[in-house]
């Protein structure tokens, strides 16, 4: 376990989050006073500037390989937190670009959206660096509140409202389990600090008691809800479908990164008692991979299809979690945990680029009277909008894990971690279900390239630059990092 004895300045540690919060406040206040009737483009622009400044501060935070802590050890300043932070900021940039286009075209161009996005981003970043279960919970709630409102941002639409309410009610249900789990773990270990918990668990020799086990079970449930793991996934397709597409994109990225960063940390701390929870994670991983992919097969709505796809990807990421405790294999020290963390982080980046890119194409095609989300809306896209169609093709190939894309490299890294960590069964299921997934991803490509447009020409969207920029960024990343994966490691400081 990394020795987190180094302590860096509290304020320096949360500087990126402070920047995001300040930017959100400036947008909120400025929009009601300074540029009330002015050009609304200033809001997304400010938001992007804020995210970039936060990015600058984040990469400037001292890198301590073994990790440092701040705020009385409640925040971890380590590569895991910093790299997932970078992934979150990338998600934010892409989401803001998408929102810029989407909100304008759908007549929803209000500053509150960006405020909510930035504030929930703060929560996700806190979640990613939480070294304490309470801080983790706090981050999760801050993240979630923003998401609930963003899901219902198209107030006049029934589907959007429904999505918001569903997400909120089930989210509250999930949070309750998480909190209960935290309480039970605290009861069993006398601490909410993850390092402390790990220390207590490794020093105690007896079998874990029922209180601890129940606590761990509930932690799995609570985090599994956020990460959309079967059987806690059922909100996902409905919310993804109902929420405004730009919000769905952000939700898909930020919630997944936050949840998995937290899981990597929590289950890393629970390694000493891995024998008790590993079977549960293994079963959940298998169930999630199988059902996520299985249910995606018959979807005809692209947003629902991507929702099930995100469930399936959560299953792949769980495989990495399952490889986490393999600190020794056959008595020999193994690098499986490092591979698992590295693979999961790389996969999260890949997931962000390909999923946000795919949602981005839907955003790009949507206009005021028409919210593109059905597979049939994509018919003949290759002829109508070749750039968007080709980008979409790359996203689909990447989601399906076909080289030379990032999705392939990510899947490969997790696969390698799983094999190194002796999780052979999971690796096999992962390979088989990935094969199944290719079907529904390629069907989208087929529809775009080989079927004729049936509908009448849609009204030209008002502004599309933002969405196009996001799509191109994501497509370039999907390909470039697929060919040169180490480039990403070089940029983010990931890897050895």
């Amino acid at each position: 376990m990394p020795d987190k004895s180094v302590i860096i300045g509290d304020m320096q540690a949360i500087l990126p989050m402070i920047v995001l919060w300040v930017t959100a406040s400036v947008i909120a206040l400025g929009d009601v006073s300074l540029w009330k009737r002015g050009n609304k483009a200033i809001n997304p622009l400010l938001a992007i500037v804020g995210v970039l400044v936060a990015f600058k501060f984040l990469v400037n935070t001292p890198r301590v390989a073994s990790g440092a802590t701040a705020f009385a050890k409640s925040l971890a300043i380590d590569p895991l937190g910093q790299i997932s932070g970078i992934a979150l900021l990338v998600t934010a940039v892409l989401s803001i670009l998408l929102a810029w286009t989407y909100l304008k075209n759908r007549g929803l161009d209000h500053a509150e959206y960006y405020v909510l996005l930035l504030l929930s981003l703060t929560g996700a970043m806190m979640m990613a660096s939480a070294n304490d279960l309470i801080v983790l919970f706090l981050g999760l709630e801050i993240l979630s509140f923003g998401l609930y409102v963003m899901a219902g941002f198209a107030r006049t639409e029934e589907r959007s409202e429904e999505a918001s309410v569903k997400y909120f009610l089930l989210g509250a249900f999930g949070s309750a389990f998480l909190l209960y789990g935290i309480a039970l773990v605290y009861g069993a270990t006398q601490s909410t600090n993850l390092e402390q918990i790990r220390a207590t668990l490794s020093s105690s020799s007896g079998a874990p008691g029922p209180m601890l086990l129940a606590g761990i079970g509930l932690l799995i449930v609570g985090l599994g809800f956020k990460a959309a793991i079967v059987p806690f996934h059922q909100w996902t397709p409905d919310v993804y479908e109902g929420a405004p597409t730009a919000a769905t994109a952000y939700m898909a990225g930020a919630a997944k990164i936050g949840a998995f960063a937290a899981m990597l940390r929590v289950f890393g701390a629970l390694t000493p008692v891995a024998a008790s929870w590993l079977p549960a994670i293994q079963i959940l991983a298998i169930v999630t991979m199988v059902f996520g992919n299985l249910l995606a097969v018959t979807q005809t709505n692209v947003k629902r299809l991507l929702a099930y796809s995100s469930i399936a990807h959560a299953g792949y990421l769980l495989v990495a979690i399952a490889a986490l405790p393999s600190e020794t294999v056959n008595g020999i020290a193994s690098n499986a945990p490092d591979l698992a963390v590295g693979g999961a982080l790389f996969y999260l980046f890949a997931y962000v680029f390909m999923t946000l890119g795919a949602f981005g194409v839907l955003v790009y095609l949507s206009s005021k009277g028409r919210d593109v989300q059905h597979v049939n809306d994509l018919r003949g896209l290759a002829k109508r909008e070749p750039a968007a169609a080709y980008a979409m093709m790359f996203f689909m190939l990447s989601l399906g894990g076909i080289p030379p894309t990032m999705g392939f490299m990510g899947k490969w890294q997790i696969f390698y971690a799983a094999v190194t960590g002796q999780q052979i069964m999971l690796a096999i299921v992962m390979a088989l279900t990935s094969a199944m997934a290719v079907y529904y991803y390629l069907r989208v490509v087929w529809v775009m390239c080989f079927e004729e447009t049936t509908e009448a020409a849609a009204p030209e969207p008002v502004a599309r630059t933002g969405a196009m920029a996001a799509i191109m960024l994501a497509a370039a990343a999907t390909i470039v990092f697929g060919i040169a994966p180490n480039l990403l490691n070089a940029i983010t400081g990931m890897g050895p």
């Binding site: 309410v165 569903k166 009610l169 089930l170 249900f173 999930g174 389990f177 079998a207 874990p208 029922p210 086990l213 129940a214 761990i216 079970g217 509930l218 799995i220 449930v221 809800f225 059987p231 806690f232 059922q234 909100w235 397709p237 409905d238 024998a275 008790s276 929870w277 079977p279 549960a280 079963i283 959940l284 059902f291 299985l294 249910l295 995606a296 097969v297 018959t298 390698y416 199944m436 079907y439 040169a484 994966p485 180490n486 480039l487 070089a490 890897g495």
Partner: protein, 673 residues
């Protein structure tokens, strides 16, 4: 052994610029004018050439033992690992040494000239931008092949140039024959590529790395130089040579190259004469520290090279398509290069690569200019009398002809002679190498003289295009060779086309002087890149030179003696005599290899594949796959019903999940204790 120098930091631009050119043409080429596309395509290659010269100057400013540098091919970064999987580590880096820089100069220099030529040659083609997209991509991959600091990058370049070659051979794909030629090239190359891939794996299995050299001396060539088991050297050497046979058209994998002439002539000059087909020689030279440790591999390489040289020369004697003659001549010259490698005269082989790039590119471009002048005619039986009609083309072709025949002081003389001289001193079979090689040289001089007679010196045998009902109007779409805008009968090519000819003619004339036996600067230059291997002459170099002159003279004079009597027809034998003569028939029919291979592999193999497809694939495998798909579809539909949309149902299923997870954890611990 590895030294960094400032100029090396620009190396990434050498392949980078053609890559940019490729991207530009691929995305914007169709919207741009032809002058923009042609201009950019040519400019990026010449810019790469300029940078190559600059880098080479930096390299040469260091003492010999420091002429090796390793830099990243990504700008401004340290040596970035490209792939890193456990012990398998490969850089995206370049190895800068005399060998790689020599090839860079050839590829970008000759390549640039050919680009310029192609701007004129392809001017009327409707797919102008597609052509230059492929051509720039080819240059990028070829540079990757020679610059990469490891075998895997070479493999990437190797496959990349193969792809470009395929795309360019079948560039005019509306004609099925062209597509078939492209397929043939691609498929035959597969055979070689399997050998290469196995060779790469064998290197990794033996040395645990694919990098040539590292500063610590842990590259596989560094390790091999310390001595390895001959059996391993033989295995690696032969596997890699199989790859070289495919790409460099050595017997019996030579069959694709003559068919590859279906592509536009600049492609034949660039890819199928000057650069790509020499990749095999470059590769064998690069791994020379391994090759020299296996006498068996050396002998195989020399014998295959020698046989290919003489075999292809006999075919070239009777071909009537001007490009086919040059194609078989290329196969034959490549054989010479491998003969050089096989006797340990790697630098002589590379010297021949260099001079051959000059004079064969010149001859191909000249042939292209002839074809252009005759509105697409390639059959030499319908040429003749062109010497006065297209004088610039004619005089440059004369220089190319003298160079390939081996007349001093033209380029081909020095390199061919060096190979033959060193082959004569080979420990075993040296005399055989020498005599057969010399006979091939005589044949080369003869068939090239034949080409000159048939094309330029005999009486005109074609009908002026202006009076020809079969003018280029018919051909303009399918054979852009014919579609020049200003054609009324025979005409000289525009400056864009003859300037490259002139430059190549100068190089063909004097380019060989860097490697004369009295002052062999070339060999000295390449020394840091290749394995030391003692090679001897059987007799004094001066005598060898003299014999070489006689061989060239013999071939030329024989041609003159025979053809000067047939100035009207340009044919030595009548149709009847041809039909009766088994040697003529054998040569004209490519010694029946292609037909035999077609019957054996294509017909039989095709039948076998069809049976597998019909019985195993369609019924067994498809049946299984469809059954699985049906089950998945059914299950998916079934579970879709669970998604009711009601929050209470979702909450219920969550609760069931909670109970199962918690109960599972608790029961699991009970079971263990």
């Amino acid at each position: 052994m590895i030294y960094q120098f400032a100029q090396a930091n620009l190396v990434w631009l050498i392949p980078g610029l053609p890559l940019l050119g490729f991207l530009f043409h691929a995305f914007l080429g169709k919207r741009m004018g032809k002058s923009v596309v042609g201009g950019i395509a040519t400019a990026v290659v010449f810019a790469s050439f300029a940078i190559s010269v600059y880098v080479l100057m930096g390299l040469m400013s260091h003492p010999e033992e420091l002429r090796r540098a390793q830099v990243s091919l990504l700008p401004g970064s340290d040596l970035t690992p490209w792939i890193e999987i456990g012990a398998f580590k490969v850089n995206y880096g370049a190895l800068i040494d005399p060998l790689s820089m020599l090839m860079c100069l050839i590829i970008t220099g000759v390549g640039g000239l050919i680009h310029l030529y192609a701007v004129g040659y392809m001017a009327q083609d409707k797919d102008f931008s597609r052509f230059f997209t492929y051509l720039n991509l080819f240059i990028f991959f070829m540079l990757t092949l020679v610059l990469g600091d490891n075998l895997l990058l070479m493999f990437v370049g190797w496959e990349g140039v193969g792809l470009c070659s395929y795309l360019l051979i079948s560039f005019w794909f509306e004609d099925t024959e062209n597509s078939k030629a492209g397929n043939k090239a691609f498929i035959v190359n597969r055979i070689g590529d399997v050998g290469f891939a196995l060779g790469v794996m064998a290197v990794f299995a033996t040395f645990g790395t694919l990098t040539y050299h590292t500063p610590q001396g842990s590259g596989f060539l560094d390790l091999a130089a310390k001595g390895i088991a001959p059996a391993i050297a033989t295995a690696i050497g032969l596997l890699l040579f199989v790859g070289a046979c495919g790409k460099s058209a050595q017997f019996p994998l030579h069959v694709w190259l003559p068919d590859a002439m279906a592509g536009p002539t600049p492609v034949s000059a660039l890819i199928h004469a000057a650069t790509m087909v020499t990749a095999g020689v470059v590769m064998i030279t690069r791994v020379s520290p391994i090759i020299v440790q296996s006498p068996i591999a050396m002998t195989v390489i020399a014998v295959v090279g020698l046989f290919t040289a003489v075999f292809a020369a006999t075919i070239a004697l009777t071909q009537n398509d001007i490009k086919k003659v040059l194609a078989y001549s290329t196969v034959s010259q490549l054989g010479f290069m491998f003969l050089g490698c096989g006797v340990g005269a790697f630098s002589a082989g590379m010297f021949h690569v260099t001079t051959h790039a000059f004079f064969k590119a010149l001859l191909f471009l000249g042939a292209g200019s002839v074809i252009h002048a005759l509105s697409g005619e390639q059959d030499m039986r319908k040429m003749g009398g062109l010497a006065k009609r297209i004088p610039i083309t004619y005089w440059t072709m004369v220089i190319g002809w003298l160079a390939i025949c081996g007349v001093p002081p033209f380029a081909g003389f020095w390199s061919k002679d060096e190979i033959l001289g060193l082959a004569s001193g080979a420990p075993s079979w040296g005399v055989v190498y020498y005599v057969v090689g010399l006979a091939t040289a005589v044949m080369t001089a003869f068939y090239m003289t034949r080409l000159m007679y048939k094309t330029f010196w005999t009486k005109q045998r074609f009908v002026e295009a202006g009076h020809d009902a079969h003018g280029h109007g018919d051909h303009a779409d399918t054979e852009p060779d014919a579609g020049h805008g200003h054609g009324h009968g025979v005409h000289e090519s525009p400056p864009k086309m003859w300037i490259p000819l002139a430059v190549l003619a100068v190089l063909s004339a004097i380019g060989g002087l860097i490697g004369t036996p009295w002052a062999n600067k070339f060999e000295h230059f390449l020394e840091p890149s290749i394995a030391k291997h003692e090679a001897h002459h059987l007799f004094a170099p001066n005598i060898g030179l003299l014999i070489g002159v006689f061989a060239a003279a013999a071939g030329i004079l024989l041609g003159r003696a025979l053809y000067s009597k047939k100035m009207e027809t340009g044919e030595l034998l009548t149709a009847e005599e041809k039909a009766k003569n088994p040697l003529y028939q054998g040569s004209a029919n490519l010694w029946y290899i292609d037909g035999w291979a077609y019957r054996t592999f294509v017909i039989w193999g095709g039948g076998f594949a069809t049976a597998v497809w019909q019985w195993i694939d369609k019924i067994l495998i498809d049946g299984m796959v469809n059954a699985v798909a049906a089950v998945i579809g059914f299950t998916s539909e079934l579970f879709r019903r669970v998604q009711t949309g009601y929050i209470r149902a979702y909450a219920m299923s969550m609760l069931v999940g909670v109970v199962l997870v918690v109960a599972g954890l608790l029961l699991g611990s009970l079971g263990k204790h």
